[in-house]
Symmetry: C2
Subunit: 325 residues, 2 copies
């Protein structure tokens, strides 16, 4: 009898986390309803769309989906700050582009860099140290660096409605993964604290590492070589490699998420939900899509209606954008 009571009580606790209480940062409307309806049918035992808990995999892009990516990806901002920190050890940068301009221009975003130069910046700032050392660098930087427009920590510029959605999905038995083009080791030091998503559920781009024993102490040394880029077609590949199951829900905001949305929602038996966050709120955040260098959204926006992907409007669907200060 006692264990029966227990089950009933646990059931009560779980179902009390309903949508109305869990998504206060979302305005009522068709997109919020789509989410609630989807979660309802995949979690309802006996429903034709029921999905067992272990298969309730939800994947979220990070930059521009969970936190602000304008005017520059946060990881690039970190890299540019690292260039300044490392400059005393690199006298050759005084005459070598793009480092010369980066070190002498006051607003980094105005320095034009080619893709090859960008890779050079990333390698120069992200390799040549142990994984533990890099993790400490990220933790130190993210604890103090502030956004140029909002003057808040980057980790405060996460989207409150998305935090609520992650919590709502988890309360409904979903396993939530981040699937980001950003470096996995730039995210893992803070994603558990900020999103409640543990390191093993964070997938991103990967740098090669080498195992070494120095003075009897094993370390992983970050090498100047990219192992895996978790963007575009890399996203379904990363999902397959790291998770090994197909998601039933995918949320992105740019064409870099196209294949992840396609992989999740196309040719699958049962209910699937694809969502795109459209940045159309210049007042509270930024307004950008097909012409933006950061987070370009064109093809995915164009094909959303025919593919059944829901386009979430930051302006209309987000009651709040960032957590209160």
């Amino acid at each position: 009898m006692k264990s029966l009571n227990l089950v009933v009580l646990v059931g009560l606790v779980a179902t009390s986390l309903d949508a109305a209480n869990s998504l206060p940062g979302w305005n009522d409307g068709p997109n919020k309803s789509s989410i609630i309806e989807f979660v309802g049918k995949v979690t309802k035992a006996g429903s034709p769309d029921f999905v067992p808990e272990q298969d309730r995999i939800a994947v979220f892009d990070n930059d521009g989906t969970l936190w602000c990516e304008q005017p520059l990806y946060t990881q690039l901002r970190f890299a540019l700050d690292r260039v300044k920190t490392l400059a005393p050890d690199h006298p050759e940068w005084k005459t070598k582009e793009p480092f010369k301009s980066l070190l002498t221009t006051s607003r980094e975003k105005e320095v034009p860099v080619t893709e090859a130069q960008l890779m050079e910046i990333l390698i120069a700032t992200h390799a040549g140290m142990s994984t533990d050392e890099f993790s400490d660098m990220v933790s130190d930087w993210i604890a103090t660096a502030k956004h140029p427009r909002f003057d808040r920590l980057y980790t405060d510029l996460v989207y409150q409605p998305m935090l609520e959605l992650i919590g709502y999905l988890e309360a409904n038995g979903f396993h939530v993964f981040i699937v980001s083009g950003g470096g996995v080791e730039f995210m893992r030091p803070w994603t558990e604290r900020v999103y409640g998503i543990p390191p093993e559920q964070v997938i991103g781009s990967v740098i090669e590492v080498k195992y070494e024993v120095r003075d009897g102490k094993p370390i992983l040394l970050r090498e100047p070589k990219i192992d895996f880029i978790d963007d575009k077609e890399g996203k379904p590949i990363g999902i397959h490699k790291f998770i090994g199951r197909k998601p039933i829900l995918a949320f992105g905001n740019s064409d870099g998420d196209f294949q992840m949305l396609e992989w999740t929602t196309t040719d699958q038996a049962g209910a699937r939900l694809g969502l795109i966050l459209h940045h159309d709120d210049a007042k509270r955040e930024y307004a950008y899509d097909r012409d933006s260098q950061i987070g370009r959204l064109g093809k995915a926006l164009d094909e959303a209606p025919s593919r059944g992907w829901k386009v979430v409007s930051m302006k209309d669907d987000f009651k709040v954008v960032f957590p209160k200060e």
Copy 2:
């Protein structure tokens, strides 16, 4: 009051899963005691060795640690069976080694192959199909293929004491991962059913895949190229890449697990446990170590005492070896 009762009841359920009931397949002795003592101190709130649940990461090798790897790795047996299945489509194999010998020799294990030929066999049998198709092939094969000596399904030749240990660790808040040199896609189709370990907690060697859309249907195509070998120094690299946390317990059985054991137990604050399964039971299973081609165990065995790794004897520590038929 009701929610307080709930907590107490849940607590009672959790602690009732104690070691005596959870590890019946282990003989009493110093190794079993080491495990129980370790779990006791890392789970006891207030203990100097207490580890929060999210950091209770345990990693297990698969071949020879969780299931029988003699006289041939099961995945190789699968590959050899695939060679026979595919032979009609490869008339050139009639004259080409190692395929010619594999197809004409009755006992596959007697065909000597070089490492390069082994790679050729793996590529020929493991690439050129979609990930879904490969998963189906593995599921079909593993459902019927039997071990030559024991005449049982390979998935029945898992070690009963290890199944109990996984369950005991999970009941104590551990997150258990498989970290195997075997192909991840050879394991994931059955590891959840057999070990209770979900696909996202199975790490192994990885083949390259390519994202393609065929007739509007997205697939991942297995390419004839190895992406990552999760063996030796690849094991700490795989742990870092896929989990992003350091384990506190590692269990292996061969020198291929040396670096995983080293990474887990060396230069770490707090309690750590390294374990090696020593196959010394020719009667109930097999007896092999430093001279074996499969699962060679020399260096790790030699260094176990100085590194504090516990050497578990199959003969002495396992009350039972395989689950009852």
